[in-house]
Amino acid sequence: MGIRFILMVNKQGQTRLAQYYEYLTLEERRALEGEIVRKCLARNEQQCSFVEHRNYKIVYRRYASLFFLVGVDNDENELAILEFIHLLVETMDRHFGNVCELDIMFHLEKAHFMLEEMVMNGCIVETSKSNILSPIQLMDKTS
């Protein structure tokens, strides 16, 4: 199961979205997020976008003030995950229009819905933006 968790964290280390694909208790999540965010925020632009942490490999990418962190298994293709992050951001951008941190904060559930379409059981299952967004747009229309 490739992806173990997806986090969005801002520059101050505040969590903006968290989705886990394996169960961790609240304390474990807190600790994990703290350690990972500290590690990733300490890195500079030249360094790899990958960090090893315990049994995870973290692939992260920064957009403006927001860091996207994806925890994966050891045998995952890191570059592909890096592009998966970008695909996610592009998808959100198509939906929100110039997506910014605040969009995600105000529409946390929508960001989650998009992830639900893209990733199931820790696997990337959908990469077509129109397929990802159509259920969400349909839902917007009906309600």
């Binding site: 169960y23 957009y63 003030s65 904060m105 105000f106 929508k110 696997c123 299952v125 990469t127």
Partner: protein, 964 residues
């Protein structure tokens, strides 16, 4: 756009988000959330809350949990919301529940019913929402409740439903493979689904299935190859394209599957070569995603049956990765190199310099990856440098997790390739000194074993040299403070066993040291126990040698103290010591023979010395002994007891009927099979009936001997015994038995590589002398000889080539620049590749993207255009956020022209796909640089300000467009 429409949230919610967004510290955020919890607790319990309001509360609960606080008081409301009729509310409810609950939570039972109902809904979006929940919430016990419906949905007319249904089955398979064992064919069937999304999703479960059982899926090789071919030829809808790559994520998954299927299978691999070769050629090597696919190709090529042409392609890509300026690509390159050297070890040599650069890099991630590579390419010629480097690195880091890993790797390499005893001991000392408490205790036992046995050559002088140098170095090190307990145990054991053997050190000197250790670690019982036993051995050896025993006063007081210890173990050891030194020399020698840790303890199971006693008893009228298995009543007893133990261990009820009592033979077999565990065979039994069954029950015992009890003694003997190394058995036997022979105390995690590498290691050790001088020279110029002289010029010349990029690390380099000019020039050549387009392109992407002149792009230069588009999308992560903004504004201006140009470009390059390709590009560009860019942002900004959310100085970035 959705966002504007969605701002129908209450002031309260906006305020909450705003205050969280502007919180200055974790403490402030916690305060806000705690306050929010109080509010929610009050509000959420009120009667008749409007549904939209309730949805907001639920999302606020999500916030509470996300920020690390307990929101369990509201779980039930999230559960209730899943019952709602409105799709949006229902889906929000499901979302919250999946975020809050794990699959074993008590509330799940309340949702299963709703899920069942929703799976039958006419609205496919409701079905999808339910299937999402199924993937997160259904555990092994509730699978049967939804399984039939999920299976039915596999044939649903909507592709989105089919896709999610297949993933639900995947999830069931992950949870409990047996629950869907009869549905495996469904996965194969869905692979042929008309919808590429369903097909793509089906690859996930198939990958898992194939990982576990490759052979059952060999028939699919042709299908996978043809799917991959179609994908690579852009037969999929263009909405799957990503940065002009055709469905790259599906390609990657297919390549992963092919790698599994082609591994060690020439026939299967044959059918893959063409398509993999095509992808190698087609991939856009300038984009990240193109490189991701290329990397996956390398993984595939290095896993399947080797093909020279593809290996060449792979090597080319690797060298491009390694030469790149991007750390990400270097990282991938190092990883890929590690995979490829398994097949063609010679390619490592051309990348020596790049590898050393990565090793010297300040980036920790890259460094670790490089150590992983070095670990894979260690041989006896370079082991010293590599292990030294590893140890230096190990000392420098604080991350215990990785420290443990690298320590055990050092130990493993040192054991396999050690060039000399002295080096080995020194290396182990360093590892234990700095990571002693982290290494597995087995490693310590292994070290003791090695010192006792030597390296397996039948050369006693070498062995005694090893021991002497160990003793000497330990005596040297023993005084140091804060030695890890494990290390002290080793030291005590070795000193006890070999401290006085070579006569260099007197017994009183050694015993004095041992007493010091025991005293200095008075709260470590294990160390004290080792020390006392060591004392006992030394006194015993002294007495056996006929020397007069004069016990140091501190030893006496130590023993007195320990004989009153709270630890019964220590007490016993102290009393034993006292008992032994009161015996005569002859008795002592037979109790404690010198250097006998490797000797076999002989047990005569027939206990002949009792024969006389038995005879006398029988004569006096005692009952003759009847072996246990011949006492029929006993058989069933022991049989039942064994069953009980089985059941006790699984903690579940057994539904099948009790087995019939087995015939006596079976009862004898079952304890045998237990023998591999910790359990002991209760009573020694006659061995004649067992011989027959043993072969069937323990295959591993086949070659070791007919007697069961003897077998386990053999295990002991081999663990410690000398002959195992010289015997020919290890290389011939399979890895399991070898592990048993050599590696009883090997680290577990590395078992496979280990046993494999071991074969090599012994061979190479013997062959060491025959390594050609040329090769040695090469190795020396890579890592060897004096590592310093080698590495420094490399980074020095690197400095020349790269100017400022590694300014930090080269400070120590200057004095060594002149060393071996030959090497330096050689390196310069390899470091200055022909300035081809590719390198230029990369430089532009990562470094100076913002400075690209828009007019130049208008000139219709093919390459730079692509570069900008890459710069825009590919390199966003690498460049700074403000850069992105600047860059995108540059790109945005000449947008229409650029679009045309792309049309032209694609028309030239790919006549058949002309329209498609051009269209995507234009669409893609317009979408990421949406026309009225600033206006849109401003509007949003104004809207939010209206609602009272103003960006404070603390976090002005809240409004910053993520994509620029």
């Amino acid at each position: 756009m959705g966002s504007q429409g969605g701002f129908g949230q209450s002031k309260e919610f906006l305020d909450l988000v705003k205050s969280i967004g502007e919180a200055r510290s974790k403490a402030e955020e916690d305060r806000i959330v705690l306050h929010e919890i109080e509010t929610l607790k009050r509000r959420i319990a009120e009667p008749d809350i409007p549904k939209r309001k309730m949805k907001e509360y639920i999302i606020r609960l999500v916030y509470v949990e996300m920020l690390g606080h307990d929101a369990s008081f509201g779980y039930i409301h999230a559960v209730k919301m899943t019952h709602d009729d409105s799709l949006l509310l229902k889906r929000t409810g499901y979302l919250a529940v999946t975020l809050f609950l794990n699959e074993d939570h008590d509330l799940i039972i309340l949702i299963v019913n709703t899920i069942q109902k929703d799976l039958k809904s006419d609205n496919y979006l409701v079905v999808c929402a339910a299937l999402n929940a199924v993937c997160k919430l259904i555990n092994e016990e509730t699978i049967p409740a939804v399984l039939p419906q999920v299976v039915e949905l596999l044939g649903h007319p909507k592709e989105a439903v089919r896709k999610k249904a297949i993933m639900a089955l995947h999830r069931f398979y992950q949870r409990s493979p047996s629950s869907v064992a009869h549905l495996i064919s469904q996965f194969r069937k869905r692979l042929c689904d008309n919808d590429p999304g369903v097909m793509g999703a089906t690859l996930c479960p198939l990958f898992d299935l194939i990982t576990i059982d490759v052979n059952s899926y060999k028939d699919l090789v042709i299908s996978f190859v043809s799917i991959l071919k179609q994908v690579a030829e852009r037969r999929l809808p263009k909405s799957y394209d990503y940065h002009q790559m055709a469905a790259p994520f599906i390609q990657i998954r297919l390549l992963k599957i092919l790698a599994l299927l082609g591994s060690g299978d020439k026939q299967a691999s044959d059918s893959m070569y063409t398509v993999v070769g095509d992808i190698f050629r087609k991939c856009d090597s300038l984009s990240n995603i193109g490189n991701a696919v290329l990397y996956e190709c390398i993984c595939c090529v290095s896993s399947i049956y080797p093909n020279p042409k593809l290996l060449e392609d792979a090597a080319d890509v690797i060298s491009r990765f390694l030469k790149s300026d991007s750390h990400n690509l270097k990282y991938m390159g190092i990883d890929a190199l590690g995979r490829l050297i398994k097949i063609s070890p010679e390619i490592a040599e051309q990348h020596q310099l790049a590898v050393i650069d990565c090793l010297e890099d300040p980036d920790d991630t890259l460094k670790r990856k490089t150590f992983e590579l070095l670990y894979k390419m260690t041989k006896s010629s370079n082991v010293e440098v590599i292990v030294d480097r590893m140890i230096d690195y190990m000392i420098s880091i604080n991350d215990n997790h990785y420290k443990t890993e690298i320590a055990s790797r050092c130990v493993e390499l040192a054991e396999q390739f050690a060039p000399s005893n002295h080096w080995f001991i020194q290396t182990m000392n360093k590892v234990f000194e700095h990571a002693g408490d982290l290494v597995n205790i087995k490693v310590a036992h292994n070290l003791m074993r090695l010192i006792a046995e030597g390296f397996g050559e039948d050369d006693d002088t070498a062995d005694s040299q090893l021991r002497s140098s160990a003793v000497e170095s330990y005596l040297h090190i023993i005084g140091e403070p804060k030695l890890p307990s494990v290390f002290l145990q080793v030291i005590c054991w070795v000193l006890g066993e070999y401290g006085t053997v070579d006569g260099k050190f007197s017994a009183s000197y050694i015993t004095g040291k041992l007493c010091d250790v025991a005293e200095a670690h008075s709260n470590d019982d294990t160390v004290k126990a080792y020390a006392v036993t060591a004392l006992m051995k030394i006194y015993a050896f002294e007495m056996a040698a006929g020397r007069k025993l004069d016990m140091l006063p501190e030893c006496q007081s130590l023993i007195e103290e320990l004989s009153a210890s709270h630890s019964t173990d220590l007490q016993q050891r102290a009393y034993e010591l006292q008992a032994i030194i009161s015996l005569d020399a002859h008795a002592v020698e037979s109790i404690m023979p010198p250097d006998a840790s490797c000797e076999d303890i002989e047990i005569n199971r027939s206990l002949p010395f009792l024969d006389i006693y038995v005879q006398q008893s029988l004569e006096k009228g005692a009952q003759p002994y009847v072996p246990e298995n011949e006492r029929s009543g006993m058989v069933n007893m022991s049989n039942f007891r064994n069953q009980d133990q089985h059941e006790g261990s699984t903690h579940t009820l057994r539904f099948e009927a009790y087995e019939l009592p087995k015939p006596s033979v079976a009862s004898r077999v079952s304890p045998v099979s237990h023998a591999s565990g910790t359990e002991l065979v209760p009573v020694p039994e006659p061995s004649y009936p067992r011989e027959i069954h043993q072969a069937a029950s323990i295959p591993s015992a086949l070659d070791t001997g007919p007697l069961e009890l003897k077998l386990r003694l053999d295990g002991v003997q081999k663990k410690w015994g000398r002959p195992t190394y010289s015997s020919a058995a290890p290389s011939a036997s399979n890895s399991t038995s070898q592990k048993m022979v050599n590696g009883v105390s090997q680290l577990d995690g590395v078992g496979n590589i280990n046993s494999k590498a071991r074969d090599v290691s012994y061979d190479s050790k013997r062959l060491q002398v025959e390594i050609s001088p040329e090769k040695q020279k090469l190795a020396a110029s890579l890592f060897g000889g004096s590592s310093q002289t080698q590495k420094r010029p490399s980074s020095a010349s690197h400095k020349v080539a790269k100017a400022s990029s590694h300014a930090g690390e080269t400070s120590q380099v200057a004095p060594a620049v002149s060393v071996s000019a030959e090497i330096t020039t050689e390196k310069k050549i390899s470091l200055q590749p022909p300035p081809d387009l590719l390198d230029l392109g990369e430089a532009t992407v990562t470094g100076s993207a913002p400075s690209i002149d828009p007019f130049k792009q208008l000139e219709g230069l093919l390459e730079p255009t692509q570069v900008t588009s890459e710069g825009n999308h590919g390199a966003v992560g690498a460049t700074k956020a403000p850069d992105i903004m600047a860059q995108s504004s540059v790109v945005a201006d000449p947008l229409p022209t650029k679009g045309d140009e792309f049309n032209l470009l694609s028309g030239l390059s790919n006549a058949t796909n002309k329209t498609l390709y051009g269209e995507t590009t234009v669409m893609y560009l317009t979408q990421s640089n949406k026309g009225p860019n600033p206006k849109d942002s401003l509007e949003k900004d104004a809207l939010v300000r209206q609602m009272g959310v103003t960006p404070s100085s603390q976090n002005p970035n809240l409004f910053r467009d993520l994509l620029g």
